[in-house]
């Protein structure tokens, strides 16, 4: 009985969190025009969440592409279709792996830092101090981080995809001996700009950028002002973002495919 009640409590709490997050989004969007005054802060955050994430995104993109090239070559060689390696690597990366893996990495690298930074500002009264100085922390602290995340994720996804294709080429052409011309011509002939790149890379990564950034700033802004509260909020950012990315990916794919 108590387990059922606990489960009910968890469900109610989760629904309440989603509702609160939705209301927070509306408040945040209302603060976005005011945040345009703080363009320099948005640029600073863009550097921090975008440029500073490049190393991990490029490294992971390269290895994902390399392992994909290796696995596909192995499977396709059974059917004598290794010439399609480039095509399948590109489609897999553009449609799914690029946006999803980048968003997951972004949540772990930039999302957690956004949550921890805002949470610590809350715990040390910095947000209250801003309010007392008649500076809206939503416009000065939260909105620039949110905007930076929304802008950075599609760009990082593009970098990830480029590195992934390069990794696939490195393994397929340079290592396993697939013909360079075949690799590229098959890929360019099959990959559709609208269906694979716009829907996959652009649209999905943009949606993931909104969701991950929203979860990160929401968790930071509403965290209890204690060290334990900040720690929990950071963990919740990763867990909630990961679930949201994968669930949203399924929903988007079912509409876009």
């Amino acid at each position: 009985m108590s387990t059922r009640m606990e489960r009910g409590g968890v469900v109610t709490q989760s629904l309440a969190q989603i509702g609160a997050c939705g209301l927070f989004l509306l408040t945040l969007l209302a603060a976005v025009p005011k945040s345009m005054r703080h363009g320099r802060e948005t640029l600073r955050q863009l550097w921090f969440v975008g440029a500073m994430s490049l190393t991990i995104i490029m490294t992971c993109g390269l290895f994902v592409g390399m392992v994909l090239g290796l696995q596909l070559y192995d499977v396709l060689s059974i059917f004598g279709g290794t010439s399609a390696t480039g095509t399948v690597v590109a489609i897999a990366i553009y449609r799914e792996l690029g946006p999803v893996v980048t968003a997951l990495l972004f949540a772990g690298r930039a999302g957690t830092s956004m949550t921890a930074e805002i949470g610590l500002m809350r715990a040390t009264d910095q947000l209250d101090a801003m309010e007392m100085m008649a500076v809206d922390p939503l416009a000065y602290v939260v909105a620039p981080r949110f905007l930076a995340g929304v802008i950075a994720l599609p760009l990082l996804t593009a970098v990830f995809c480029a590195m992934g294709v390069f990794g696939g080429h490195l393994v397929g052409v340079s290592w396993l001996g697939i013909d360079n011309g075949t690799f590229w011509s098959n890929m360019t002939a099959t990959v559709d700009v609208w269906k694979d790149i716009v829907n996959g890379v652009v649209l999905k990564s943009f949606a993931f950028g909104i969701v991950v950034s929203l979860i990160a700033v929401f968790q930071g802004y509403t965290t209890p002002p204690t060290s334990e509260g900040v720690a929990y909020a950071t963990t919740r950012t990763v867990v909630a973002s990961s679930i949201a990315i994968l669930a949203l990916d399924f929903v988007l794919t079912s509409f876009l495919i």
Binding site: L120, T124, D128, A129, E131, M132, M133, A134, V135
Partner: protein
């Protein structure tokens, strides 16, 4: 930068609280409390820990709203102000936080310059001069390029004080301004509070526990306990008025109307002494 006071408002207190009732987690913090902060004076709020002194400051700034009652600052009811109007009012209020609350991304100079940069379009030269003047007043001009993590608690408090006065506000709220200050810094801060009050006519409210310091700087003292004002008057009179509240508080006695112990069950029972009633 202090806005001129309208002739009609000169006689009215700058802060007027009527019937303020606040209940937090089932505990009554304020019980229909009335309180006035006169213009151009230094008013001290004193009282035992946990009586809601900081909470009172938060009611004045609109950070918290009570369950009932009215809080008026310069004629405006802060309990019913919109966020934008509240921010407009706060541009005229300086607030010194208990834990300084410096912005950790910025150095000392930028912390003090922050309100100026956000609310004015003053040329950089003027901002620099204002900030250095305020830092000189708190004795930290030489620390302008230090980061908050490089400051001691007392230094951070003085930077926060410089930030609170950078706009020359109409009202300054000091939450425990004397904590962590060495005798030299304490003396300078007391002088600064007095000078701001006397030269610019700035109304000051300070929450403090240090009677000696309060006696030197305050014009009027409110002693708060159990959700009400239990004594008030000028510091010298209040310290010698002989009421059980003032005698216990200023004498530092454990026994009196204010319990030293937080409400708890039987002590012997808590220690599992034989025969003790649970």
């Amino acid at each position: 930068m202090t806005e001129p006071v309208s002739p009609t408002s000169v006689v009215e207190p700058l802060v007027r609280i009527r019937g303020l009732t606040t209940v937090l987690n089932g505990k009554t913090i304020f019980d229909a409390m009335d309180l006035d902060i006169p213009r151009g004076k230094v008013t001290a709020i004193m009282g035992p820990s946990g009586t809601g002194k900081t909470t009172l400051l938060k009611h004045i700034t609109g950070q918290m709203r009570g369950d009932a009652g009215e809080v008026r600052v310069d004629g405006q009811d802060v309990t019913s102000l919109s966020r934008d109007h509240l921010f407009k009012l706060r541009e005229r209020i300086g607030y010194l936080f208990q834990n300084s609350a410096l912005l950790t991304d910025f150095d000392v100079f930028e912390n003090v310059a922050f309100p100026l940069r956000q609310h004015t379009k003053l040329p950089e030269v003027l901002i620099r001069n204002i900030v250095l003047t305020k830092l000189q007043a708190v004795g930290l001009r030489g620390a302008a390029r230090l980061m908050p993590t490089e400051l001691s608690g007392g230094m951070a408090r003085r930077v926060a004080l410089a930030r609170a006065i950078v706009f020359d506000p109409a009202l300054i709220l000091y939450d425990e301004p004397f904590v962590g200050l060495d005798p030299i810094a304490l003396n300078q801060v007391l002088k600064l509070i007095r000078t701001l009050n006397q030269t610019l006519g700035i109304t000051s409210v300070l929450v403090a526990h240090e009677l000696a310091a309060v006696q030197r700087v305050a014009d009027h003292v409110y002693l708060i306990a159990n959700g009400k004002i239990v004594a008030q008057g000028d510091p010298a009179t209040l310290a010698n008025d002989g009421s059980p509240w003032t005698r216990q508080f200023f004498g530092g006695e454990a026994d009196g109307p204010v319990p030293f112990q937080y409400p708890a069950g039987d002590y012997a029972a808590a220690l599992d002494f034989p025969g003790a009633k649970a």
